[in-house]
């Protein structure tokens, strides 16, 4: 190891950190107005620099060597890690653009810097196969997201959401750290690649299972699986819209990939089985129960929501449950199905939150009633929202359909005698319920009359010329969801090829 080697392999992360410094400096030197709003120059220039930095980092990742490992897995360069680091950078890029269209937050420079630093945490989570580094990545991401959630200081719900997210998050982190210390105590190593063989060679004491379960808690919190989901509705509803989008997309993608690596590489020997007739103790039955719980709670509670962001939060809990199916199925096929689904889900949710952001800025709220007659006010936004929601519901030919098909069929094929049929049947039932509440939102958008007076109708699409860029972004996202549904093979092939 030399410092030069370290700098070369960690260059993408270093570039994003440096970009965050530049954005902070821009916010500092361009001055502040007395009114508390961020000057337009800061917001514009800062967003431009941030987007540029993310693009350069992505380009650097592409130029990294194919395979490299530093410090027993603290930093691993592999096609899989690089692919998902680029995906996270792209999601951060969209978040920066959508943050631009947001109601002017004070301290926009600091907000953009927080997005970038959270992205660094996500990149480290993806690029590391060592417990200590994973924990630090988890904390870096978490801390940035807590601050971003509470960023809207004019709103009381934002502060409440930030506090709840922080309290739940730090509690989950404490459990994870305790669990990691137990695993380290038993195996004497923190490297995932070395933990697997050590677990395979010795009889497993129950305390190790306690360690594994406690480790899982932190990650299940991040993906908002059922008993650990209580923060999600408040955070999705109270946080600034772009933050909510980022929590639902980037943070989730990174959490699923690191959870998959810990389970399949590190804890592979103690997986057990969740088959209906052949239950074997291990982490698989635990995940199966939590997945079933998430699907049920998420979908049923979403039915009665009156706020679109809360509805998306509960549907996120359910989608977390579906995505766990791939990890329960295990193996390369299961992991790639999980990764494909979570990527598609992330792209869709960034878009959906983008639309919510526009509606919120015009109507001052994001309840269902605020979406009434959106079709008349802005056919573009209404069309995009329809694509996103129908993809979430899993209708062909959208990406969500293929994602679910791939996920469920992999899970069905995984166990002997279709042992996971019970869970897949439950997931299908959940999807059926979810179709109902997504269609309710679409009914409000397309069929309900706008409660406000008609002058608002003309206003929408024409006055928002200034938001040309965020709108184009939404179109691009909707196009991506459509395209990934028609030719899903491109991304699936990439993911499968990156396993090498």
């Amino acid at each position: 190891m030399s410092y030069l080697e370290l700098l070369r392999l960690a260059a993408p992360e270093a570039i994003v950190v440096l970009t965050a410094f530049v954005v902070l400096t821009i916010g500092l030197v361009t001055g502040r107005r007395e009114a508390g709003d961020t000057p337009a120059a800061t917001a514009g220039l800062g967003a431009l620099v941030a987007a540029l930095g993310l693009a350069i980092a992505a380009a650097t990742i592409v130029r990294l060597p194919g395979h490299a490992t530093l410090f027993h897995g603290m930093l691993v360069v592999s096609p899989l890690n690089s692919l998902f680091q680029v995906i996270v950078l792209v999601l951060a890029f969209f978040t920066v653009i959508l943050a631009r269209g947001e109601r002017l937050l004070p301290n926009k420079g600091e907000y953009l810097a927080m997005i970038l630093l959270a992205t660094v945490g996500l990149m480290l989570l993806i690029g590391s196969e060592e417990l200590l580094m994973i924990f630090i990545g988890l904390e870096l991401t978490g801390l940035s997201l807590y601050v971003m959630t509470a960023f809207d200081k004019a709103s009381q719900t934002s502060a409440e959401a930030g506090l709840k997210y922080f309290l739940f998050g730090s509690m989950a982190s404490a459990f994870t750290l305790f669990g990691l210390s137990l695993i380290y105590g038993f195996t004497g190593t923190t490297s995932l690649a070395a933990i697997g063989p050590r677990l395979a060679e010795q009889a497993l004491p129950p305390l190790l299972f306690v360690g594994i379960v406690m480790t899982l808690i932190g990650f299940l919190f991040k993906i908002a699986a059922a008993p650990f989901h209580l923060w999600a509705p408040d955070a999705y509803q109270g946080a600034p819209v772009s933050t909510a989008g980022f929590i639902a997309s980037g943070s989730k993608v990174a959490s699923f990939i690191v959870l998959g690596k810990i389970l399949l590489i590190g804890f592979g020997p103690v997986s057990g089985s969740a088959d209906w007739h052949g239950l074997i103790a291990g982490w698989t039955p635990i995940l199966a129960v939590l997945s079933a719980l998430s699907i049920l709670i998420g979908n049923l509670v979403a039915l009665v929501q009156k706020n679109v962001r809360r509805l998306l939060a509960y549907s996120a809990v359910a989608h977390g449950g579906y995505t766990l199916l791939g990890l329960i199925a295990g193996g390369r096929a299961g992991f790639s199905a999980t990764l494909f689904y979570t990527t598609i889900y992330a792209v869709t949710l960034v878009g959906a939150f983008g639309v919510v952001g526009f509606v919120r800025r015009e109507n001052g709220g994001d309840d269902l009633a605020d979406f009434a007659g959106l079709r008349a006010r802005s056919p573009l936004l209404a069309g995009c929202m329809a694509i996103f929601l129908l993809s979430l519901a899993g209708l062909p030919p959208l990406a969500g359909f293929f994602g679910k098909f791939y996920l469920f069929s992999t899970a069905l094929r995984a166990g002997a005698n279709h042992g996971l049929l019970w869970l897949v049947a439950l997931a299908l039932f959940g999807s059926l319920i979810s179709l109902y509440y997504y269609l309710i939102v679409l009914k409000v958008i397309f069929l309900d009359e706008n409660a406000q007076a008609t002058p608002a109708v003309a206003r929408y699409d024409f006055e928002m010329r200034a938001d040309y860029l965020p709108k184009m972004t939404l179109l691009v996202l909707a196009g991506a969801v459509l395209l990934l549904g028609i030719i899903p093979g491109t991304l699936v092939a990439r993911i499968l090829a990156s396993f090498g």
Partner: protein, 167 residues
């Protein structure tokens, strides 16, 4: 490590750790945390990790907690003391904690290793400051630097969230 020393230091940590939560007066809570940290430092020292023990006293018990006390004293102390305890929430939390610790106790009780006496640690006569330094700038260089970024995030966050906006 002598068992007497271990049990004394652990008891000190646990009792004062509980006192942090039980005390209604924030200043008393913070001072209890200082004593709990001292117990932790004593445990480190008994494991021959003198440097870690001293740092624990200097940085955590000393600098961090004193700063913490200053901040607490700037706040309205009476508000927390007046706050009434939500007994339903308290009972729920206590029940979860009791179940969790009961389970841990059962698991550890069945553990073979837990019934063996502690193996004495090999006497380590090493210059631990030197070793920690080498590790931090060698194989743990990356986490060390990332923690720097982490602290930066915390700093920015605290300033942004606590700053009074001009209106």
């Amino acid at each position: 490590m002598s068992p007497f020393f271990f049990w004394t230091a652990s008891a000190l940590m646990l009792v004062f750790g509980a006192a942090v939560i039980i005390n209604r007066n924030p200043v008393a809570s913070a001072l209890s945390l200082v004593v709990s940290f001292l117990g932790l430092a004593a445990l480190f020292m008994s494991l021959d990790a003198f440097f870690l023990g001293i740092i624990q006293v200097l940085v955590y018990a000393g600098a961090v907690m004193v700063l913490f006390l200053f901040i607490i004293m700037l706040l309205d102390l009476r508000a927390e003391e007046r706050r009434r305890i939500n007994f339903v929430a308290f009972a729920g939390g206590a029940a979860v904690a009791v179940i969790f610790f009961g389970q841990l106790y059962l698991v550890i009780g069945h553990l073979h290793q837990a019934k063996l006496p502690f193996a004495p640690l090999a006497p380590m006569q090493v210059d631990d400051v030197h070793r920690i330094g080498l590790l931090l700038f060698g194989s743990y260089n990356l986490p060390f630097q990332i923690i720097g970024v982490l602290i930066l995030v915390a700093t920015i966050g605290v300033i942004v969230l606590s700053k009074r906006e001009l209106h």
